[in-house]
């Protein structure tokens, strides 16, 4: 009950702020931070719970963004249809990637997901309809409820973040999460104890992929522009992976904490210093955390709580 009231407060709060007269930049940055929450949470469903490291986040985000673009160009679909379409396609891609887990584990799986990025990017570059290598300029539809379109997108992203986190929370607390944790610790042992490992992995891959795709869907409208090089940028991977690891992978709150801290920090560093250094911040924090605090912030807090008792 407490969780659901908190979710409601977050959505209403953000919608409330969107009605207020706060500076537009705040929303531009807020969108990125909320998107980071979705990406980190989605990544963690597969990476944190099941231990399969997906380096191919931009493949899913890009697939989502370009599905949205396609639906926009072909049938002038409204945003909600674009998001659902993106989630559907990225979910199917996730399912196919899940089938790879039958044969591939560890780094082999991770490298296969990197391959997806470049294959999708090449397909888009060679597709004139989707703008090719140069990309497409888009006109946004008129804002509906809020005074400008970005504000509406921020509220949409907030809803998506709540959906993503709720799904992750449900998965973690149900038999699915227990099964996935067993897969992470020892796939053979899990299989022998009757855990339906393949079914659970496919489920995790599909849900994770669909959420990543959905998070990418509003991108074309958010930027009113889309081009392959930045859409399929490997930087999405390092962020989506660093946030759960820094926050803590074992609990759904970990990716949320990690995403809020890192994405906010990135926005501050980008504005005050430079966009290159924000990548350095993520890289260094990631390396420091995996070496010094592999259980992330959640792990540090747990340790601090038990030692202070």
């Amino acid at each position: 009950m407490r969780y659901w009231s908190a979710c409601l407060i977050v959505i209403l709060g953000i919608a409330g702020i969107a009605f207020s007269g706060i500076n537009n930049y705040f929303f531009f940055a807020g969108f990125v931070v909320l998107q980071a929450v979705v990406l980190a949470t989605a990544w963690n469903i597969l990476g944190g719970y099941a231990g399969y490291v997906n380096f191919g986040v931009p493949a899913f985000v890009g697939a989502g963004a370009y599905t949205a673009l396609f639906l926009h160009l072909s049938i002038k679909a409204p945003l909600i249809v674009q998001i659902l379409g993106a989630a559907l396609l990225a979910g199917v891609v996730g399912l196919l990637v899940g089938l790879l887990t039958v044969r591939l584990r560890g780094i082999f799986f991770s490298i296969a997901t990197v391959a997806l990025i470049f294959i999708f990017e090449t397909l888009v570059i060679n597709s004139r309809y989707l703008g090719g290598a140069t990309g497409l300029q888009l006109t946004r539809p008129d804002p509906i409820i809020f005074e400008n379109y970005t504000r509406g997108l921020v509220v949409v992203m907030a809803v998506m973040a709540v959906v993503a986190v709720s799904l992750a929370r449900y998965i973690q607390e149900s038999h699915i999460g227990r099964g996935l944790r067993a897969v992470r610790d020892s796939e053979e042992a899990a299989e022998c104890s009757g855990v339906p490992t393949l079914k659970l992995k496919l489920l995790a891959c599909t849900v994770s992929g669909a959420l990543l795709g959905a998070a990418g869907a509003p991108m074309p409208m958010y930027l009113s522009y889309i081009e392959p090089a930045s859409t399929f940028n490997l930087l999405y991977s390092v962020s989506a992976l660093a946030m759960p690891i820094i926050g803590g992978m074992s609990h759904w709150i970990g990716p949320v904490i990690g995403a809020l801290i890192i994405a906010t920090l990135q926005q501050i560093v980008t504005v005050t210093i430079s966009s290159e250094l924000n990548v350095l911040v993520v890289g260094v924090l990631l390396v420091v955390f995996v070496v010094a605090a592999p259980d992330g912030i959640v792990g540090l807090v747990k340790r601090w709580k038990t030692s202070s008792k």
């Binding site: 990476g47 944190g48 231990g51 490291v53 380096f55 790879l100 044969r103 591939l104 560890g106 780094i107 082999f108 991770s110 490298i111 296969a112 990197v114 391959a115 997806l116 470049f118 294959i119 990017e121 090449t122 397909l123 570059i125 060679n126 290598a133 490997l234 930087l235 991977s237 390092v238 992976l241 660093a242 690891i245 992978m249 290159e276 250094l277 990548v279 350095l280 993520v282 890289g283 260094v284 990631l286 390396v287 995996v290 070496v291 592999p294």
Partner: protein
């Protein structure tokens, strides 16, 4: 495009030379990942670092190949020191190393990229040497000298490594450590020391391979990303840890890419390595010459 035999022969000749180059840039990974099972995703980033090292020395008029040879001991030491950190932080801890170890190397990739951007800028940098630019004409066919240089370096490097690994005590120990660590310990060799040596070699090789990369084409800091596909494709195709297999796999990738380049166009070329890799992973992850 009109199909012609001349064009096909030229594409294959070009592909063979390109393949030698791909083998050269993959040899280090073949040792680090193939033999030691270290998920060295940062290998291509280190490669680009090597290229920039050669570029830096080139500013003082040093030939790229000579620069690569000069940097090899430096990279060897760096690699050995780096392995120490990796070992203490991950291998000695044992559990949960899978996700964190991968994330560690992935983080290193971006740290190297940003440092290169900060020191050298995002612009492309290239080297100067007498053999860059010219080409050898055989009948109608023109083969760039830089490709020939890359090919020769690759063959020499692979032969030296292969001989070292099969003929010397430490070389054999490196081969053994990937197969059975405890057996090696029983033979009185320290597996950590052996792995440190091997990772040093894998990194040292990258200095020279990086120089070859600089000879082949202008370099830029995020160039490593495309080479994740190419190097892992070669190593997986080769079957983990086989040096002669690495050459053959390099040739397969080089020829395929060259054919795609010539008959489909440049825009499709980047996907070749990744597609081959994906097919290989799905059908035969142990590689063509796997153990």
């Amino acid at each position: 495009m009109i199909f012609s035999v001349d064009l096909l022969i030229e594409a294959i000749a070009f592909g063979i030379l390109l393949g030698g180059f791909y083998a050269a840039v993959s040899l280090g990974l073949s040792v680090a990942f193939g033999l030691l099972d270290i998920p060295h995703v940062a290998h291509p980033a280190v490669l680009v670092l090597g290229a920039y090292g050669a570029f830096l020395l080139g500013q003082y008029g040093i030939d790229p190949i000579v620069a690569g040879l000069l940097l090899t001991p430096v990279f060897f030491a760096l690699g050995a020191a780096f392995y120490r950190v990796y070992h203490i932080a991950f291998e000695s801890r044992g559990d949960s190393a899978a996700v964190n170890g991968l994330a560690f190397f992935f983080g290193i990739v971006f740290i190297i990229e940003v440092l290169l951007v900060v020191f050298f800028g995002v612009d492309q940098q290239s080297a100067e040497a007498p053999y860059i630019g010219g080409s050898l004409a055989i009948g109608e066919m023109r083969l760039p000298y830089r490709l020939i240089v890359a090919f020769v370096v690759a063959i020499v490097l692979a032969s030296v490594l292969s001989t070292y690994l099969s003929r010397t005590f430490y070389g054999r120990a490196i081969k053994a450590v990937g197969q059975d660590e405890s057996a090696l310990r029983l033979m009185g060799a320290n597996p950590v020391k052996v792995k440190q040596l091997a990772f040093g070699i894998a990194t040292g090789v990258n200095a020279l391979a990086g120089a070859v990369l600089l000879i082949m084409a202008p370099v830029e800091p995020t160039m490593d990303r495309i080479y994740i596909g190419r190097t892992f494709c070669v190593v997986v195709l080769a079957g983990l840890g086989s040096m002669s297999g690495t050459i053959v796999a390099g040739l397969i990738l080089g020829i395929t890419e060259s054919l795609v380049l010539m008959f489909l166009g440049t825009a499709w070329a980047p996907a070749v390595a990744f597609t081959l890799l994906l097919i290989m992973l799905a059908l035969r992850p142990q590689g063509l010459f796997g153990r």
